[in-house]
Symmetry: D3
Subunit: 310 residues, 6 copies
């Protein structure tokens, strides 16, 4: 039986046309969707992020030219489908994420996760910490996500995840860098507290004056030889390049810079990746989903380069 | 101080340009938004329903011709704003709804509520039952919303509210009519159970063959002299007329029929109204929000007619 | 030289691919655009009505089956282009319309006009009355457009045109019928005054209970042997079928009914036609423009049938 | 291994969540996409029809209430994926369709096909005729599709398929009914020739005056005891209900009528179905795709009813 | 009475949730909308600019990090609502603007104005000149807006305002800088005349080669110690970042540069601000309105910094 | 007879309002549309490119400031309309393109062509080579378009055109430069083969590190004194600036860079230009079409500068 559907407009939309299965077996990488959007403070819709990023992945022809690697050939990749989420209850959703992703990690596959909103990263960090211990984290975002409470007095939301993660000891704060932070905040404390908690905050202004190369060098210096988890909130990119998101912040990275930033992580010991906050109802012409699928492809290529020993 | 902004494209968008205040005082009617969309099984976005319906209400010139009444002149209407919702926790949201709406009802104002998804009706029924006892209910919808569980094992969602309400004794099942039910269901039990629970289910096929007039006569026969709560799920209307919703079902009412159905409730003892499931990210040209604001205007006009003793 | 561009997606978009010229000569019909949208009380954008209706006309294959006529073969039709409008000054715009359209009428061509908002009909009526004397008028609309003042104290707007026309003696009020009137009004006086001014107002409710056939019979009875001008405000159609308009009113005609209503004018002495209030920025998938181009095609076919003596 | 993804917003989008495979084996029904849009005379984009209809099918909860059947339980349904199409060459595409669909039919599965434009029906008729002999055909459409040539002198296009089919002896013209025909045509010959070729043409005007019931009775009378193929061009439905199509014709069926028309084929010996001309780039809020998935669900339910001997 | 609606998706949309009132009293800043779009030469729709910018302002969390100030805490800000505009008559609209804004200025509040098209700036300059004398002006735009006539022979339009302002002595031409000018013009005279009138024209090419820092230094050198009015036409930003505008010019500033340009005015004696030409019907995902609300927030922050003596 | 329609929102949409004719006579430049979209591997819709670029050209006020020329005054420009294309047959379409464009070139007019997809460039190169001999080519694109086969075994598509052109001897490979190449490819061979075939491939990474100036210098060095054909695939621009295209690749040029790149060709012996892959159904707010019309205006201005001997 063959399924020859090579043209992008044809066929069933798994990520990169990889097989949809829950047999992890000897898979190197599992693509996992988490269609949860109840944690957002503004526009919902990220529940359709996984579906549309898979669809956009039809345009990934397979070979990464700058990295000289064809990741789908080097790695065994499966499309796990989506974690079972409970829109009305974030805590039960967290349990499902930890449990399902934890089971995948136990079989030594690396996960590439598509959100969903950024509240989904906390249980992902829990699952990865369980396996790897406290994690170095590269956190691309326009917001620090280190509020203590949101929606009144709630501890879990897309604005509190990284504070919780630090409190729970999931992050090695000696190697935790936020990149792209900007925009109006709720008060002077927002950035102050992020830094107090241990984050190295590279604001957008700093990133623009340092340049992408210097930002990456700093990340490498800080992270090398550590287990590095990468969390990419698409709203670190400017809304012109990524309109399909819930809390857009103007004045962000271009898509070219975003690609450089992910590709520039080459050489780090990368153990997990999430790409969150893609909200298709607010996208147009699928440009946000296409960007997201390309950023995931860059990360996948880094895993392949690493496996190849390139 | 005057705020003369009579042209529809001008000014601040409260419902019908009524004052935004939380002083209920001697208000007859309070417009209340419940921007909660975590209870939906498909497309989110109803959190923006209240905002867009308010905006659409700018086109309501004020006088209802068929009912010969100018409701904003007859009634003191305020725009309460929105109930505080907690997207990550439906139970806390229910508490807030019961508490806030309950307080309004205690001051003898009638509420007209804009959802949000249909999970928000349950706490509204609780608040109204607290004041009025078990309620006669006219329930416009394409789905019976009488599932026992959704999202796995969750008791609260936009598909379970009316079963819960019946179990909790909020509805007088001798006077509970569903109108417009149609579309694929999860099994033969869906309709069967709705009827077992006591609902009179008028399917779309029945409504079309009976005609709007006969449907209304049946409702009047069943409801007269009772306290009647009206819950209007916009997806009872066909997606051509109401595309902006989360779980569209083709083959529904036209906007003309929808107007007739609400207006035709004249003469009943109407004590509450919600209009739910308007999802603006999926609307176009605001036609769903405009329809919703007109349906609310019809209900408001019925209250005015009643107050006038017309 | 030939311009063989028969496929709808090809070529320059004049109405029905008729020649763009201002030489009226022996033309039977001149298509005229009036891209003026400053007269609207809500959403602007009708300035792009003529352009998009022309584009939509590419789908008119040429032969009218129910009327058994190919109007572009029977009639010499030209596309005049657009009247020069002055968005900042409605009075100067009126002068231009009267002057340009008056000049066309003097050469005995019939005009088919695409608005623009409904404020443009007043100068059209002036130009036609100059040639034909007071006019019988069939006025399709959801609003009576007989306010005395709008925008504070302005006499000219899209809501006042027909009052002005009656005051100026342009309309033979013994043969003036409004069809489709509905929706909230500014007060009880709105309809009352329309009737006081002489209009026969057939509300939407009446049209629905009478049926299209009876409405048409009444029109024929009233108009026969008179010079009949037809003004078609697209918002008489329901927003599901015509979302691209400025002040949508739910509960209107279907597209099928709209076609019947225009086609059913066969046999009247038709001397002019305008189709107004198509606002392309609010359209989707061009369905409003396509409907508008078909309605104009029906009117054009009636002129052809008349010329043929069918 | 289980793939428990029951919520509509979750998971991989095969039709009705049925398995994606090319092992026909003992399948009763194969869902087949034909993403070919080079045959259209106006708006392309139907190449994304199969993908979006699959996505819309997530909302099909599984049980057909009016037909009292759960087709996915009664029938073994697979999602074959898409036929390999060659956008630059319609003839090679036809060969692929005939060959791939022919192979499925040989294994005694019934196909339900999603186009693509209507040019794809000709090779489908060829494949079915090969198995069943000349076919009775119920053809829902706004256009007769019986032109001799299109695009200059081309024999194959979305406007010529049914003439070719008749010429090739694929259709039993004693049982060939077109339903919904309307709109401007290229000349008086269009309808005349369709009838000369043997089609019973029920125009939209006739369908509206006869009513859906009478239309269906006529179809049953003509088709009973024959092998019936159903070709459903979504543009037979009004653009208000089905905006996402390439050559919209105003004045069409409502979605309610469309559902009745397919469901009303119950009792015929149905051997094949295609649903064509859904063009997602022109859809909004997915209403056209949702309608299409429901129409296919109705047809599938008819097959299940038949298998059940209901 | 409290109105606790802190989540961006909730509540009534005044700018930054500041009170809607026309009691200026001791207000420091009044937010004023001017929903006038009759002055535009191409796409209308800016009449909805004020409404959508207010809505977008829900995302302004309140604290400006780079300027280390929380402007809504430092300043008393009110949302005045919209000036009464007359779409059919630009001159009367000008009178209303002058009169209403003049009255606000008399009470020593600073206005931040949202257009509407750029024709609205002329009466704003008149009102400010009345209070402050001839004004230094920083004018961000892609067009010089110094035509003598538009729409034939009209003196007032969105293309003529700054010529009129200079002729009327409203601008101190020794301190008048245009920034971002580019794109096709009507002739060589366009730029020549702008310079003859006294404008320092920094074209986009010059701004790109000089860099934002050098542009700002020049502005400071020229403006320091003068009363500075800032007029920001959103079309100075590239359409990728600001698609929602009437006459887009490609090749413009990024959103990051735009933020820098406004923030970089710190230290000047800023006495007024308008942000014009945001046309929501052409926006998507609200990115233009969000940018506009952020630019206004930057200006507001500058006022706060100044009041703080920072 | 005059056609005074100078406002952008008015009138018939030929390119730059130039006359629509097929009398080439003494025309310097013919604007030609090729609405063919069957050659694309992903999203169709470019068949509407010519129509929308013409419409967008209404905003070209006529004078090019950086080049100090008014091209419509210097050159006699006509709008030829569209070449007759056959969507179902790429080879016949190629014959028509060669034949129609060849006839224009024989009359010594330069063509500026709007696609359609990039498969249309091959016959354009054939026609130009027939007149000028092998051509120097500046090829702006994100893809090399030098595959050997696409859609299985097809030699002609939008991904194979430049390989075919080289094989046919149409291109002088000593002067063939590709600019902007990036994104995932089908394998390592893609770029390798492009270079083997003789292309100088300047990838996006190289262009970004070299800068636009250096890229242009290299082009000038290589091309000077040769006959230069320019083929501009709009997808070389980033999807933020040009979303309306079929196979978007993130990480591309800004609109400002794109303008510089075309304008920077000044001084070369330019003999032909095509601008392809603009797909309006995927555009928003017309920003892609507006960019395309400006790029064509830059090229036209270069022709005018050359004629002027500037």
């Amino acid at each position: 039986m063959t399924l020859p559907e090579p043209q992008p407009f044809m066929g069933i939309t798994t990520f990169g046309r990889q097989p949809h299965t829950r047999d992890i077996d000897d898979a190197d990488v599992a693509i996992v969707g988490i269609p949860f959007d109840s944690g957002t403070s503004h526009r919902s819709g990220t529940r359709f992020g996984p579906r549309r990023i898979r669809e956009a992945s039809m345009l990934l022809w397979g070979h990464n030219v700058p990295l000289a690697v064809s990741p789908f050939k080097v790695l065994k990749v499966i499309d796990y489908g989506d974690v079972d989420v409970i829109p009305v209850d974030i805590k039960k959703t967290y349990q499902n994420i930890e449990s399902e992703v934890g089971a995948i990690l136990k079989q030594d596959a690396t996960v590439i996760v598509f959100g969903g909103d950024h509240s989904t990263t906390l249980p992902l960090l829990r699952a990865h910490k369980e396996k790897y211990g406290p994690l170095a984290v590269v956190h691309f975002d326009s917001h620090p996500d280190t509020w203590d409470r949101e929606f009144g007095d709630e501890p879990y939301s897309h604005g509190t995840g990284f504070r919780r993660a630090i409190e729970e000891g999931l992050i090695d704060t000696s190697a935790y860098t936020q990149i792209g932070i900007r925009g109006p905040m709720s008060g002077a404390n927002d950035l102050h507290e992020a830094r107090e908690l241990g984050a190295r905050v590279i604001t957008m202004d700093q990133a623009m004056s340092l340049g992408v190369g210097a930002v990456l060098r700093e990340v490498h210096d800080k992270m090398k030889s550590k287990k590095v988890y990468v969390s990419f909130d698409i709203d670190c990119v400017d809304p012109a390049f990524a309109p399909g998101t819930g809390t857009p912040e103007v004045g962000g990275f271009s898509s070219y810079q975003a690609l450089q930033l992910v590709r520039g992580l080459r050489g780090l010991d990368l153990i997990g990746f999430d790409l969150v906050e893609v909200s298709p109802p607010y996208d147009h012409s699928e440009i946000t989903s296409i960007l997201a699928s390309n950023l995931a492809f860059e990360f996948l290529s880094l895993l392949a380069v690493s496996k190849n020993g390139q």
